[in-house]
């Protein structure tokens, strides 16, 4: 699960392009044509079809699509309090997840970067390794831990801290917990990449002038790695807003987010046009926030993107 934004990181962390550039258009097109064919058939056409689908209507009686195009499905989503709540919850959860992931991931990346061999590479593996583990497996761990009869409740009950089990599973809080676990390594990656380019001379100068370690971190390091922190925040937000398996398993049937509502329409009630409209709106919200965020970042940190 890699980030929508890692391309920005990739271009500024990549090696200088020292290659001789001598391919003409025909040769480049020939090399790209099989890939273009795959993308055209399996990516462009399906996206256009889904977009078109969101303007159709669906007959509940016959289960057939009806002729004619309409904005009705979008109006339905926008005016229905049920879907309004789902969109607000999705955006709210994603903002909280992004904030917590940044608050945890930034100091962790800094601490990792200051570690000595071999601990530095060992813990880097431990922190980034979970990115290769299926989200279903990671989420299962949380359901075992926080369920009503889960290990956390059992432990708290037997210690006498609580008298009856806490309800954590199938709440907004459970979804936030699971998503932070998924997003925080991506924030570490993003901040880590910034830290590799960060000049430690300013830190040493601050220390020699008597600054405390905390002051050095908040006043010297954080401002310099701000681009990494902010792109990490956007990555965390995008992953959280689009996540499916984690909210499905930790939110259950009651606590829906947009992507679980989309899957309900496609795999449950079979109202595909409504599901398509929900998905198009989710995509629009995601792209709008990413565009605004990147624009604001570029305006603020022009130098970092040169």
């Amino acid at each position: 699960m890699l980030s929508p934004n890692s391309r920005a990181v990739a271009t500024d962390a990549g090696l200088p392009r020292a290659t001789q550039r001598n391919w003409n258009g025909a040769r480049a097109l020939a090399a790209c044509s099989p890939a273009l064919a795959l993308y055209f058939v399996m990516f462009c056409i399906p996206l256009v079809l889904v977009f078109a689908l969101s303007f159709r209507t669906f007959d509940v009686g016959t289960g057939q699509l009806q002729d004619g195009l309409t904005f009705a499905r979008y109006l339905e989503v926008v005016s229905d309090p049920y879907f309004q709540e789902i969109f607000l919850r999705t955006v709210g959860i994603s903002l909280v997840v992004a904030a917590i992931s940044v608050a945890l991931g930034t100091p962790e990346a800094y601490i990792l970067n200051r570690m000595r061999a071999p601990w530095r590479s060992v813990f880097l593996l431990v922190v980034l390794g979970p990115l290769l583990v299926s989200v279903v497996v990671r989420t299962l761990g949380w359901t075992i831990l926080i369920g009503n009869n889960g290990l956390l409740n059992q432990a708290l009950l037997s210690l006498g801290i609580i008298e009856k089990p806490l309800t954590i599973l199938f709440t907004n809080g459970a979804i936030v917990l699971g998503l932070v676990h998924i997003c925080v390594p991506m924030v570490v990656v993003s901040v880590w990449t910034s830290l590799q380019k960060h000049d430690t001379a300013t830190e040493r100068a601050a220390i020699s002038l008597g600054a405390s370690p905390l002051t050095v971190f908040t006043k010297i390091v954080v401002p310099q790695i701000m681009p990494g922190i902010l792109s990490g925040a956007l990555v965390a937000f995008s992953i959280a807003a689009s996540a499916f398996a984690t909210p499905a398993l930790l939110g259950g049937r009651a606590v829906k987010v947009v992507s679980t509502a989309v899957s309900d329409e496609f795999l449950g009630t079979l109202d595909w046009p409504l599901g398509a409209a929900l998905a198009v709106l989710l995509l629009a919200v995601n792209m709008l926030i990413a565009t605004l965020w990147n624009k604001a970042m570029r305006a603020r940190f022009k130098e970092a993107f040169k």
Partner: protein
């Protein structure tokens, strides 16, 4: 560089506990001797691993997932290597712009790709087929392959190619004997990353799989929503072991930090 403070190390320890807790719990629960999800307090047992290997559905799903991930990663590599070479060797702006186009599946919520693939494969009557799934996964994993092969191709030192040409090598020999070995670690890493990404995917696959082409994570996901027998923990443990092995290989081959930030290996 000076040491991390004690406070920093406490934070680090809590952070690692938070990251590892759900994974450790899954492995611990998979070793239970009981018939329900619980810690192995009454003794360790491998009964849920035996149960897993005797479960035809999970074994079939595992084998299908491996075949699917193999096909998707290989197809993605075969298609994206020429694209990476073209982007790194062309001055033309439209060729450079292709990079953003080919990376764009990464920018979309996976669920959008999932329902788009469902819609399209339904229209051409290919839902739940191996071919349909491979093509669909190839799109999902192509951005990963492209990023790593592009990092390899742009990091290529042109002098090796010039030297070979000046010594009389043919263009074909330059490609097979010079270019390919130099970009190989990037390509292999890209393939492995694509393989594990395809193998782990739920969000796209859940829409396009049929009961006979159900991948392991999708079967696991469905099983978790309907029951709580410890076989879900033993399946998860096997998937964790696969991820751990993949991670160690990728770290040796490419460096795990470069892998995820998309930068070239140094």
């Amino acid at each position: 560089m000076n040491e991390n403070s004690r406070l920093a190390l406490v934070f680090h320890a809590l952070f690692i506990v938070f990251l590892m807790a759900p994974l450790v719990v899954v492995v611990a629960v998979s070793l239970t001797a009981e018939a329900y999800l619980s810690l192995p307090t009454t003794g360790l047992s491998l009964r849920w691993f035996y149960a897993l290997f005797e479960n035809r559905q999970f074994v079939d799903s595992f084998l299908f997932s491996v075949t699917l991930a193999f096909g998707a990663a290989t197809l993605a590599l075969a298609l994206m290597l020429p694209v990476a070479l073209a982007i790194s060797k062309s001055e033309l702006s439209w060729v450079r712009a292709l990079e953003a186009f080919f990376l764009s599946p990464l920018m979309l919520p996976a669920i959008v790709i999932g329902i788009a693939s469902l819609r399209f494969l339904t229209a051409i009557e290919m839902t739940g087929t191996y071919t349909g799934l491979v093509l669909c996964h190839a799109v999902v994993v192509s951005p990963f392959v492209l990023r790593l092969s592009l990092a390899a191709a742009t990091g290529l030192d042109q002098n090796f190619e010039r030297a070979a040409l000046s010594l009389g090598a043919t263009k074909k020999q330059v490609f097979w004997k010079i270019v390919l070995p130099l970009v190989k670690p990037g390509l292999i890493s890209g393939w492995i990353l694509a393989f594990i990404t395809s193998f782990d995917d739920v969000t796209v696959t859940i829409f396009v799989a049929s009961p006979s082409t159900m991948t392991l994570p999708v079967r696991l996901f469905n099983r978790i929503t309907e029951s709580t027998d410890p076989i879900i923990a033993s399946v998860s443990t096997m998937m964790l072991l696969l991820a751990a092995a993949t991670m160690l290989i990728l770290d040796r081959l490419y460096g795990i930090d470069h892998l995820f930030s998309g930068s070239a290996k140094r």
